[in-house]
């Protein structure tokens, strides 16, 4: 049985320089109240691991605009001109990773794998500096696992066991980063009594979730 925290209390747990995995794809499925609380707290030097940095004023874009981000590991930052500008000015450093590789690296980190072998990126800049392994005569890049201090989840339904379900395209990175955060904080559209989410509808078992945000007022 988990308690539920006010967003400000959850944000208090995040120290300067922490690494955060944040769910969402162009801010769809991102935990907006949690992000607002981090902006309000103003803790900086963050490393963000996410698919993208959304756009100014939305989702992760709010952390970028607030100047709290030092390093980004993402697949795409092209739709946020502020991220681009801060990267060019050197305020933010950025590791760009193919989307399918990024999600597998996170999954590997969360599931205790030492990495995965993928053909994606072979022969491109993505290969630079990477180990290559040959399996059955074919070359593959060794892509290493990713973990983070925190995973911040945007869910649809939660219960007080911490079970989570997601809706439509708001799944995206959320169910996977829930495996790879040392501390996992979930913000859900609604929190329902234990037993209401059918076992087959649970996409993130409660064991992975450390804290819920209280319901929005």
């Amino acid at each position: 049985m988990k308690g539920a925290l006010k967003p400000a209390a959850a944000a208090e747990m995040i120290p300067e320089g922490a690494s955060l995995m944040i769910g969402g794809f162009m801010a769809v499925g991102s935990p907006e109240r949690m992000i607002d609380a981090i902006v309000a707290r103003g803790v900086g030097g963050l490393t963000i691991i996410a698919n993208d940095t959304a756009m100014p004023g939305k989702g992760i874009g709010k952390l970028v605009s607030a100047g709290l981000v030092r390093h980004i590991i993402a697949s795409h930052i092209g739709l946020n001109p502020e991220t681009q500008a801060k990267m060019i000015s050197g305020e933010i450093t950025c590791e760009l990773v193919p989307q399918g590789t990024l999600i597998e690296r996170i999954r590997a980190g969360g599931m205790g794998l030492g990495g995965v072998l993928t053909p994606t990126g072979l022969g491109t800049e993505v290969e630079d500096g990477k180990q290559v392994v040959t399996v059955e005569g074919k070359r593959f890049l060794v892509e290493t696992p990713l973990k983070a201090d925190f995973a911040l989840i945007g869910a649809w339904q939660a219960d007080y066991v911490g079970n989570l379900s997601y809706m439509l395209t708001a799944h995206n990175f959320n169910p996977i980063i829930a495996l790879a955060g040392r501390t996992v904080i979930a913000e859900a559209d609604s929190i329902v009594p234990v037993g209401v989410i059918p076992p087959d509808a649970v996409k993130t078992p409660g064991v992975l979730v450390d804290h819920l945000l209280i319901r929005a007022s």
Binding site: H76, P98, G100, I103, T169, A170
Partner: protein, 217 residues
């Protein structure tokens, strides 16, 4: 008909009944408008839905259901939600029958560059590297030239997207098929002569017998 519509109408003819198709952001997304209903085609958006439908009527948008560009969409009957690991598992695993992507350059080897202009535009590769590596069929839909410069070149000068040879190039002037022998000119756009195509193309084109006019949907 403008150039983009021409391209989209020609690409729509490549879509096979009952197939699973991914359309990139921008021009490629227009292809969906011209694929006949009743063909049983399912569109995948890599952010997490199979069975992408048209934009919903005003007021019926749902923030949990968007395409990869963040635009509101609907879900057709028989749609499925998938997380990013499954989405890219389908892509990289060859379960996606076809992807239509924009391009910055294609060269005589059939190699695509579409994710980076060094020093100018570094948006990240998003899903492009996985899509080109894994999709059963890769179609590049792009303008033949940009700012007077041919986008079909002898050898890429921009960073490679993937080692895999693309299957077809559809432009406002021509349909071109990369083969072992090089780029074969398959069709010309209505009202465009072969000489005009050759003049607009920096790469060498192979012309075998009659080159028919594009058939459009």
């Amino acid at each position: 008909m403008d150039a983009k519509e021409l391209i989209a109408r020609r690409v729509a003819r490549e879509v096979r009944p009952g197939s699973l198709v991914n359309l990139g952001i921008g021009l490629p997304s227009m292809v969906a408008n011209f694929v006949p209903a009743g063909l049983g085609v399912f569109f995948q958006a890599e952010n997490g839905v199979i069975g992408l439908g048209a934009r919903p009527p005003e007021g019926m948008e749902d923030r949990h259901l968007t395409d990869a560009g963040g635009g509101f969409v609907t879900a057709v009957p028989g749609a499925a939600s998938i997380d990013s690991a499954m989405s890219f598992g389908l892509i990289r695993g060859g379960h996606l029958d076809m992807t239509v992507l924009g391009g910055l350059q294609v060269d005589e080897a059939g190699h695509l560059a579409n994710w980076k202009v060094p020093g100018k535009m570094v948006p990240g590769m998003g899903g492009a590297m996985d899509l080109v590596t894994g999709a059963a069929r890769v179609i590049v839909a792009m303008q033949h030239a940009a700012k007077g410069q041919s986008k079909i070149v002898p050898k890429l000068t921009l960073p490679l997207t993937a080692l895999r040879r693309v299957d077809l190039i559809v432009t406002d002037l021509a349909v071109i098929e990369p083969t072992d022998a090089g780029l074969v000119l398959r069709e010309h756009a209505p009202g465009v002569t072969l000489d005009e195509i050759i003049a607009a193309t920096e790469a060498t084109l192979i012309i075998q017998g009659d080159v028919p006019e594009m058939m459009l949907i």
